[in-house]
Symmetry: C2
C-alpha cells in the first residue's frame, strides 16, 4: 500500500470512529428530548456500546500501525496542510488514548455511572453523605489517571489538557488569581449599592413566544436552521452529528424571561462554531471545536458581549416588547438592560451574572486542585465549599444542594479538567471580540442595527472554519496576533459595570 | 467454558447485534421526524455503518462457533423453553445470513441506494424510464438471491420466508386466488350501486385536534405512552429500540379526517405487539414480532376490525363530534360509519378501503412472481400493471406515478417478499379476532363501551408476549387452534359489506 492509500485508509477508520461517536450523541440527544421514560435502561446500554465500539476501533492495532507508517509522510507535508494537521491531531488523540489501560477505563466508566446515580439521589435529598464513597473513588481514579502521564507537573494537568490542550495548572493559577483579585472587590463595590429591581423579568412570559423570540435572534446571528434545530431539554446544550446537523436545546421558565433567551443565545454560539467548521474537514477528527475554552468563548461572546449589550437591545427591545406587550409595555429599554445585567451575590453558577460567574468557577477550580494534591479530603469538601463561597461571593449555601452538590461535573467520573474552560471562555470572549472590532470597527454599530454579518464573518474566518486544525494557543495567536490575555476581559467588565453601577 | 457460559456469551453477542440495529433504527426515526435537511448525507453514512457493524458482528466467526458448540445443549432443552427457542431462532437467522456472500450483499445495498434515488426522482417526474436500469439489476439480484437457497421451489420463496417464515409461493398462490375470486365480484356488486357520499370526511379538520383524538384512542386500546410516543412523518410507521421504547408516527391531512386517525390506530396495533413482548425476551433476537403477516394482522385488527366497526363508533362518535362540532354537528353516527367504510375503485393501495385493498396487493404479488419467473420484462411492467389494474379493480392509472411507481418496495433493493404480508395480515386479523371473541364473547359489547381490556389481554396472552418464540404457523395454531385460514376473513367482509350495501 502506498502512503497515500494508507492515509486514505486511516481517514476511513477515523471517519467510522467519528460516526460511531455521532450515533452515540444522537442517542443521548434523544434521551433528554423525546425519549419516553421507559426507554432509559436500553438507551444507557446502547450509548455505552457505541462509545465502547468507537473507542475500541480507535485504539485498535490498525490505527496505531497506520500512524506509525505515516510518520514519513507527515514529515514531508506542509505542517499547515490539512493532512499534516489531521495526522498531528489523530496522533495526539491516539497517544493519549492508548496510555489509559482498558481495565482502568472500564473502572472509570463504572464508577462514573455509580457516582452519577448516587448524585442524582443525593442532590434532591440534600445529603452529601450519599456521594462520599463514590466521590472518594473518583478522586483516587482521577489521581491515578494523572499517573499515566508521568511527564505532567500536576495531577490535574492531563485532565485539563484533554479539554484545553496546552493549558496547565501552572498557567491557570496566576490567571485565575488575577481574575479573582479583580472580581472580589468589584462584586463588593456593586453589591454595597442598592440592588437593581429586576422584578420585570419575573412576570409571566408564555413559552411559545419565548421560544420563537430566542430562535429568531439565533437565526439573525447566523445559526443555520437548515443544518440545525432547537428542542427543549432540562439542561440546555449544543450537540452535533456532522457539521450539517448541529442542534441546540433550551429550557423555558415562564417566570424568568432570561432562562430560554440567554441559553438559546449561548448554545447558538456553540452551534455556530460547529456549523462553521470548513466542509473539507467533515468526517475527520478536525471537524469540531478546538478546546473547551475556545468553545465557551463563542457561547459567551454571543450570549454576553453581544446579547447582553446595550446596543443589541437598542435594536431588539422593540420586538421583544411586541412579543410581550403587557409584560413590557411600561418598561424602558434602559430598565430592561439594567435588569438583565443586575449583579447579585448568588449561590448557583449557571444562573450567575457576568461579574460573579467566574468566582463560582474559580472556587471549584481551587477546590479540585486541593483535592488532587491531597490537601483536602472529600468529607471536608462541603465545609471548604461554604467557607470559600463566603470569602469570594460573600454568601454561604445553607444546603449542600445549593453548594457542593450543585454541579454534575465531579459526579460524572473525574475531578479536574472540567471547570477551567468556563473562565477561559469568558476571558477569550473579550479578547476575540476586541480583535474583531479592531479589524472591523463598524461591528458595534452594525449590532445596533441587528446586523451580525461582519462579526460572524470575522469569527468564522478566524476561528470556526479551522476546527481543530491548529492548537488553541496557535489559533488565538493567529486570530488576535496575541497570546491569551486577560486584559480585554477585565476592560470589558470594568467599562460595562462601571457605567451600569457608576463606580 | 461451560455450555451455560457459552450461552451467556452468545446472548451478549446477540444483544449487541440487536442494540446496533436499534441504534440504526433511532437514527432512521430521527431522519424522518426531526432531522434538519442538511443532516441527510452524514445520516445515511451513519445508518449504513451501524447496519454493517451489526451484520458483521452477527455473521462473524464467534456466533457461528458458539452456535455449533451449543447444539448439545439445544438438544437437551425443552423445545418450548426460552433458551431452546432463542437458539432455534438465532440459528435460523445465522444460517440464512451466512448464505449471502458479503460482496453480493454490498452490491445489493449499493443498488438499493441507487434505485431508491432513481425512484425518488422518477415518481414526481412520472417517468418510469428513469428506474428501468436499476430495476433490471434489482430483478437480476433478486433472482440470484434465490439461488443461494437451492432447496427453494420458487425464486421468491427465500425472500418471502425472510419476512413470513414458512410461507411459500405454493401456499400463497391458492390462498390469494380464492381471495381474488371472492373480491372482484364483491367490488363489482358494490361499485355498481350509487356511491356513498363521503364529502363530510373532507371538511377542514385542524391538525392538533386530529392528533389528540387519535392518540387518545391508541391509549384506550392499550398503547403505553410511558414506553412510546407519536410524532409526525411523511409516511406513518412504527419502530422500536427496545420493548420499552416503541414509537409510532402519523401524517395529518387537514382535509381528510381518516388520514391521521386510521394511521394512528394502524401503527398503534404494530406498537402494542412490540410493547407486549414478554420482558424476559428483552435484548434477545426473540424480542420482536414474529412475521410480517402476524404483525400486519395486529395493525389491521385494531385499525379495521375494531376502529372501522359500528360498535366502536357507537362509543367514540360523540367524542369525535365534540372535537369537531362544526364539521360533524349535523352528521349522524350512521352516516359517518358509512362514509369511513365507503368502497371505491381507486388507484392507491395505501388509501384503499378494506374491500379493494387486497386486490392491490394481489396485483403486485402476481406481477413480481412473473418478473422473477422471467415471464415479464421490466420494460413491460407499466403496461402489465395497467392491464391487471383494469381487470381486478376496473380502473387504469393514467400516470405511472399512480401505478407502477406508486410503492417504494420494489425500488428498495428487492423484488419479492414484501407484499404478501399485507394480505396475510388481513386474513389473520379476522382469524385472530374470531378466536378472541370465541374465547371472550363479551368483546364486541365491551368495545361498544370503549373498553378494550379483554381483547388486548387475549391478544397479549396469545400473540404479543411470545415475540418470535414460536414460528408463525405454530403461533397461529396455538392461538386459534387452527391453521391459517381464509374463511373468517371472507365471512367478516361478506357480513360487514353485505349489510352496508344491502347485498
Amino acid at each position: 500500500m502506498s502512503l497515500e492509500e494508507k492515509l486514505a485508509k486511516l481517514k476511513t477508520y477515523l471517519g467510522e470512529v467519528n460516526d460511531l461517536g455521532a450515533a452515540a450523541s444522537l442517542l443521548a440527544w434523544d434521551q433528554v428530548t423525546y425519549m419516553p421514560v421507559g426507554g432509559a435502561v436500553a438507551r444507557q446500554r446502547q450509548i455505552a456500546l457505541l462509545q465502547r465500539l468507537s473507542h475500541e476501533k480507535f485504539i485498535g492495532r490498525e490505527v496505531g500501525r497506520l500512524l506509525d507508517d505515516l510518520v514519513p509522510l507527515e514529515q514531508e507535508l506542509d505542517p499547515d496542510s490539512l493532512d499534516a494537521c489531521l495526522l498531528r491531531v489523530a496522533r495526539r488523540d491516539y497517544e493519549h488514548a492508548v496510555k489509559i489501560p482498558p481495565d482502568f477505563l472500564a473502572k472509570l466508566h463504572e464508577n462514573a455511572a455509580r457516582s452519577y446515580q448516587a448524585w442524582s439521589e443525593a442532590r434532591p435529598a440534600n445529603d452529601f453523605s450519599k456521594v462520599v464513597e463514590p466521590l472518594e473513588l473518583t478522586l483516587e481514579l482521577s489521581r491515578r489517571y494523572g499517573e499515566f502521564f508521568p511527564e505532567s507537573e500536576h495531577p490535574a494537568d492531563p485532565l485539563i489538557d484533554q479539554s484545553d490542550e496546552g493549558m496547565t495548572v501552572a498557567l491557570l493559577r496566576p490567571l485565575f488569581r488575577t481574575l479573582r483579585r479583580e472580581l472580589v472587590p468589584l462584586v463588593e463595590a456593586i453589591c454595597s449599592q442598592e440592588s437593581v429591581d429586576n422584578s420585570v423579568l419575573h412576570r409571566y412570559y408564555p413559552e411559545n413566544e419565548q421560544l420563537a423570540f430566542g430562535l429568531k435572534i439565533a437565526r439573525d446571528f447566523g445559526y443555520d436552521l437548515g443544518r440545525g434545530r432547537q428542542d427543549k431539554s432540562p439542561h440546555p446544550f449544543a450537540t452535533n452529528f456532522s457539521i450539517d446537523d448541529v442542534r441546540i436545546t433550551t429550557w423555558v421558565d415562564e417566570r424568568d424571561v432570561r432562562e430560554a433567551l440567554f441559553s438559546t443565545l449561548h448554545e447558538s454560539g456553540h452551534a455556530m462554531y460547529e456549523q462553521g467548521v470548513s466542509r473539507s474537514l467533515e468526517g475527520t477528527p478536525l471537524a469540531s471545536g478546538v478546546s473547551s475554552g475556545v468553545h465557551e468563548s463563542q457561547s459567551r461572546l454571543w450570549e454576553n458581549l453581544v446579547g447582553r449589550s446595550r446596543g443589541f437591545w437598542e435594536h431588539y427591545y422593540p420586538s421583544l416588547r411586541e412579543s410581550f406587550p403587557e409584560q413590557l409595555g411600561g418598561v424602558s429599554v434602559d430598565s430592561f438592560y439594567r435588569a438583565i445585567n443586575s449583579v447579585r451575590k448568588s449561590l448557583v453558577r449557571t444562573k450567575a451574572d457576568e461579574v460573579t460567574y467566574n468566582l463560582h468557577v474559580i472556587l471549584r477550580f481551587e477546590l479540585e486542585l486541593e483535592l488532587l494534591e491531597g490537601k483536602l479530603a472529600i468529607h471536608d469538601l462541603p465545609d471548604a465549599w461554604r467557607d470559600r463561597s463566603y470569602r469570594y461571593l460573600g454568601i454561604t449555601p445553607e444546603e449542600d444542594r445549593d453548594g457542593v452538590l450543585q454541579d454534575v461535573h465531579w459526579y460524572s467520573g473525574a475531578i479536574g479538567g472540567a471547570f477551567q474552560g468556563y473562565s477561559l471562555g469568558n476571558i477569550l470572549s473579550a479578547q476575540f471580540y476586541e480583535a474583531a472590532i479592531n479589524a472591523v470597527p463598524s461591528i458595534p454599530s452594525e449590532i445596533e442595527a441587528g446586523n451580525f454579518t461582519s462579526l460572524y464573518t470575522w469569527l468564522k474566518f478566524n476561528i470556526y472554519r479551522h476546527g481543530r486544525k491548529y492548537p488553541p494557543q496557535d489559533l488565538i495567536k493567529r486570530a488576535t496576533s496575541q497570546d491569551l490575555m486577560i486584559e480585554p476581559y477585565l476592560r470589558y467588565l470594568r467599562t460595562k459595570y462601571g457605567k451600569l453601577y457608576s463606580l
